[in-house]
Symmetry: C2
Subunit: 306 residues, 2 copies
């Protein structure tokens, strides 16, 4: 079986052709502007077509295609909005079908973080109750309860990035509020904290990680403080839904070990003992988590359609 996977991000697009076991056969990655939505979808289609071409196939040879949306999207492919891409609502299904010249019935859509959680279920060996938390430019989340993705009443469950973790020195958040996890523990927040700590305004999360690993105590403190905030949000989640795991993904997940002691201390202080043994670990899916997610979305859809 050949699966097309599209991970549509706010600044870049990844596409792949994969097997049903999650093996990547061909992959493309390009920076793509989100400004013109039809052009963006045209780029996605072109990139996926090139992946198929690399393998001697055409798009029509794919059994189905899964696409991650960096925002809110219904299971029917209706995008409700994406702050990170600057998108309002539109019908992604018809747009992608036109761009791919493909049968819209073979197309499946999901929020990008939900897709990661679905990949963790299908390819990562997870089950039961867990949280997926992305630490990247922002903080996205997904919740799996009783072995099923939790969508919530309005398809908006998993907004762990907007749980309040600071009230006294609360930072403004992109959502319009303040004190959210995303304002205190995203890649952007790490860079801000690094600058405030005197590490310079060009120290992003990656550079801060390098400094911390080189023994820079200020950079280490930046990650420890970030870990406290992640621990606070995870403690709220632990008390409420008692998950077994929190899988951490996104670029900053590479620095999880620098934050983990503070995360675990905070969990111990803020979650009831029966819920505090939440195991916090990097996703087992590696850097292809989101692409695997798009493939999982497609495979789930194909199985359901049978």
């Amino acid at each position: 079986m050949l699966i097309g996977a599209i991970d549509a991000g706010g600044t870049k697009v990844l596409t792949a052709v994969m097997t049903e076991t999650g093996k990547v056969l061909a992959k493309r990655r390009l920076p793509v502007s989100t400004e013109d939505v039809p052009a963006y979808f045209g780029c996605c289609a072109e990139m996926l077509s090139m992946c198929a071409c690399d393998l001697g196939y055409v798009l029509g040879d794919l059994d189905g295609i899964g696409m991650n949306i960096p925002g809110m999207v219904t299971p029917h492919g209706c995008v409700l909005g994406s702050p990170s891409a600057g998108w309002q609502s539109f019908d992604a299904r018809s747009l992608l079908a036109v761009a791919l010249e493909s049968n819209p019935e073979k197309l499946y859509f999901e929020n990008d973080i939900n897709a990661c959680a679905l990949a963790e279920l299908r390819f990562g060996g997870a089950d039961g109750n867990f949280i997926w938390l992305t630490i990247s430019t922002g903080n996205g989340g997904a919740v799996v309860a009783n072995g099923n993705l939790l969508r919530g009443a309005n398809n908006c469950a998993g907004e762990i990035g907007h749980i309040k973790v600071e009230r006294q020195d609360a930072y403004p958040c992109g959502c319009g509020g303040s004190g959210c996890l995303e304002a205190h523990a995203s890649g952007v927040a790490i860079a801000r904290r690094a600058a405030e700590a005197g590490l310079g305004h060009d120290t992003d999360a990656r550079r801060c990680e390098e400094l911390a690993r080189d023994g820079n105590a200020v950079a280490q403190a930046v990650f420890a403080e970030t870990g406290i905030y992640i621990g606070r949000a995870l403690a709220s989640a632990a008390n409420l839904i008692n998950p077994e795991y929190a899988f951490i993904g996104g670029g900053v997940a590479a620095a999880l070990d620098l934050m983990l002691p503070a995360i675990e201390d905070t969990l111990k202080n803020e979650a009831v003992p029966q819920c505090a043994d939440l195991k916090v670990m990097r996703t087992r899916l590696g850097y292809d988590a989101a692409l695997l997610g798009a493939a999982a979305v497609c495979l789930n859809g194909l199985e359901k359609a049978k």
Copy 2:
């Protein structure tokens, strides 16, 4: 069908014989000390026996019996502990079977707040995604996700009472932590706040409600402040799991209207817009919510055993 229902609380026990539609045919309510566990279970059995006797039946005529535990309990009837009753772990199933001289297979157990959520599903017409929040001496919670009770990894989901809602002026909580919802928005917390506001040390939540309804601005402010804290905890829950409803039960739920404006304002400020339309309302089950819960636990168990 005749169902036995036992709502075992930290200070009192309610028992009833009910129909499978949730109609209460006979009911007993007594204060019972939790100190001697076998004696406590003996009392429960005696009270249920009297309910059956009122109707001209004996315990053996009951098709099954459901019992709420005021603490953590596995679906197999193993109590893991109850802070409010002062209980450590023990096997409730064999204890109740001995006390009732009944077949242990006909006995079903559940945490009391989980039972209320199950009653909301069976008798209240609820489905989908909702939270149950008790505001009584303490704050207990339960979560229903995708139409199913969420138990979590250790059977401990729903500890919304221990979500942190205050960090600056955090009050100590019975759990050993501080700043928990239960420390700031339980019946006990309302009485504390009333005393601090000069309403006198004998002003409990009920009396504070009377004062507020008589136009006492200080008592009204006590409820408004309590509402802010409830709103904070519900906003965390809304962002994470996007439930449609929060059903409020327990004695202080009668004063929900006095807290609702503050709850709704806080939700609007602290939940992302797509999750902020959480509808907060009193349980539709009324004062028999917990007894209906015990009946729902029994009926679920009997259906599963078929």
